[in-house]
Amino acid sequence: MPKKITIEPVTRVEGHGKVTIHLDDNMNVVQSRLHIVEFRGFERFVQGRPYWEAPVLVQRLCGICPVSHHLAAAKAIDMIVGAGAGEGLTPTAEKMRRLMHYGQIFQSHTLHFFHLASPDLLFGIDADPAIRNIIGVAMENRELAVQGVMMRKFGQEVILATAGKKIHGTGAIPGGINKNLSPEERDRFLDGKAFPNIDQMIDWSLDALAFFKDYHKKNKDIIDNFARFPSSHLSLVRKDGALDLYHGVLRAVDAEGKVILHDVDYRDYLDYIAEEVRNWTYMKFPYLKKYGKKNGWYRVGPLARMNTADFIPTPLAQKEFEEFRAYSGGKPSNSSMHMHWARLIEILHAAEMMKELLHDPDLQGDDLVVTGEKQYEGIGLLEAPRGTLFHHYRINEQDQITMANLIVSTTNNNEPMNRAVEEVAKSYLNGQEKITEGMLNAVEVAIRAYDPCLSCATHALGKMPLEVTLVDNKGEMIDRKRTGS
C-alpha cells in the first residue's frame, strides 16, 4: 500500500517547513513535497503608499534580510525618480550602497556557515541536534566560534555605518543615499581598535574556506553526492561576466553550462520568467518561460552564482573560484552541499570588496542624490545572500504604489529545495516505515544548504517548525516526526 511521510518543523530553517513523503506499496519514495505557507499580503499592503516609502516599508517584510529588501526596493524606486536602473547614481551613492550590501552578504553568509553549516561538518549530520549549533562548535573549537561571532559583528557594524540604524535603516533613498561614510566611521573598520579589522576578516574568511576544504577532502562522498541533482542556474552577472552581487544582467546556464538566458536586461524579466501556482502549496514556482514549467526551473544563490559567472573581480576569491570550477571540470556544480563552498568563496569576496571600498575616497564624497524625469514603473534586482531578489512597482499620478511584485530568493529556490528533499528521501527513506532522527536530520541538511528564509517567502509571523509525515496511497498517515520531539 503506498504511503506518505511528512516532516515538520525543520529546525534552523526560518519559517514553517513541512515535508510530506509518499511511499508506494513497496515502501519506496514516489514523491516528496516541501510545503511552505506563503502569504502574499505584503504586496497588497504597500499599495496606496507613497513610492518613496518603499525602501523603508519593505523592511517590515523580514527581520532576517531587511538590507536586501531595502536595496532592491531602492533600485526600483531609482527608476521611478529618473535616476536610472542601477547605473545612474553618483559614485558615492553607489559605493555606499555596495558597502552596505557586502556587509549584509558577509554577515548573512557568516551566520549560515558558523551557526548552521559548520556544526553539521564538525559533528556529522547524524549528530545530536542539541550540539549541532554554534554552541556545540564553541565547545569543540572555541576559536572557530569566536571568529563566527566577530565576523557577524563586523558585517552588522558595516550595515549600521551605511544604513544609519540597525532597525529600519534609511541609508538608501530614491536616487541615492542619505549619508556618506565619515573618516571616523571608516577608520573603525581599518584600525582594529573597536573590533578586529577588515584584514582580519579576510584572514578568517580564508581560514573558514580552509576548514571546509579540509573537511571536503576527508568527506568527498557526502559533500559531492548528497542531494545532488542536475538543474539550471540563474543570477545577475556584471556585463563583462564578472560576479556582481549588486547589479548586472540576468544570465542562466543549464546543468552542463550552456547559456540559456543570454545576459538580458533585468527590467525585461517578465518576458523571460513566470511563476507557476500548484494546488498543494501557496508558494509559487518561478521558471524560464522559454523552457516551460517542467524544464524551466532553476537554482539561485551562491552555487548558481559560481556557475553563471565567468570570473570574480577580487584576487583571493578569484583563486578560490578557479579551484571550485576546476573541481567540476569547468562545468556547473550541481551538488547541493557545494552551496556551502560557494557561500564561503562569497564571504571572502565580500570581505575583499569591503576592503577595496573602505579605501575608496569616494565614500567621503558629498554628492549623494540624483533625480531625473519621473517614471511610473520601477524594477530593482540584486543578488541577495540567498539568491536573486526581484522588486517591481508601478505608481499612479498621485505617486501612490498601485502594484508591487516581489519574487524573493527562497521562492526562486522552491523547486530546487523540493528536488533536494526528494533526492534525500529516496536515499534515506526507501524501504522504511518509520522516520528516524537520522532521516529527519538528512532532510534538514538538504533544505538548509539553500539557507531558506521562509519568513520572507511566507511573509508570515512567528516561529515556524518542521515536521515530516509519512502517508500511504490512501492519504492516511503512517508516521509523523517533528524535530525535537
Binding site: V13, E14, F45, L57, R60, A130, R152, I167, K463, L466
Partner: protein, 164 residues
Amino acid sequence: MKTLFYGYGNPGRSDDGLGVRFVEELERYIRAHKIPDISFDSNYQLNIEDADTIREYDLVFFCDASQEDIDGFCITPVKPSDARVEFTMHAVSPAFVLDLCRKIYGRTPDTRLLHLKGYVWDFKEGLSEDAEKNLQAALTAFYEMLPSLAGNKMPEIIKSSACT
C-alpha cells in the same frame, strides 16, 4: 552596575515593536536625567554576535514583545541554555546568547527578560492601545527602580519577579 537594555522585534509589525519602543523611551528618560552606566541597543532579533555585545556588562535586560498569557508585563531571570536551536534558524533566544557568551568568553552577565504583552502583529507602525498601556506601566516601574540600579543595588521587584 554596568547595565544594558536590549530591545528586539520588528516595529513594522505593530506590537512586535514593544521591546524596541521600550528601550527608546527608557533611553530618552535616562539621558534627560543623566543617569550613568546604562547603555542601550536594539535590533530586529537576537543573534550570535550579541554574545559579544553583552559580555562587558554586569546586568542585561532583554526586552521583547510577548504573546504569553501575562498581565501587562513581567520580568524573568534568564539562565544560559544549550538547548537545541529554536526552529527559527536566523535568530536565537536570550538563553542561547547567554550560553554562547559563557562558552566563548567564560563569563555571563546577570540577565533578565522583560516580557511586554502585545496583541496586534499586522504590517503597520505603532502600538495597539492595550500594548501602549502595558508599555507605559513597564516604563513607570523601571523609572522607579532606576535609582537602585544606579546605586549598584538589584531592585527587589527584579530579584523576585516572575511571569505567572
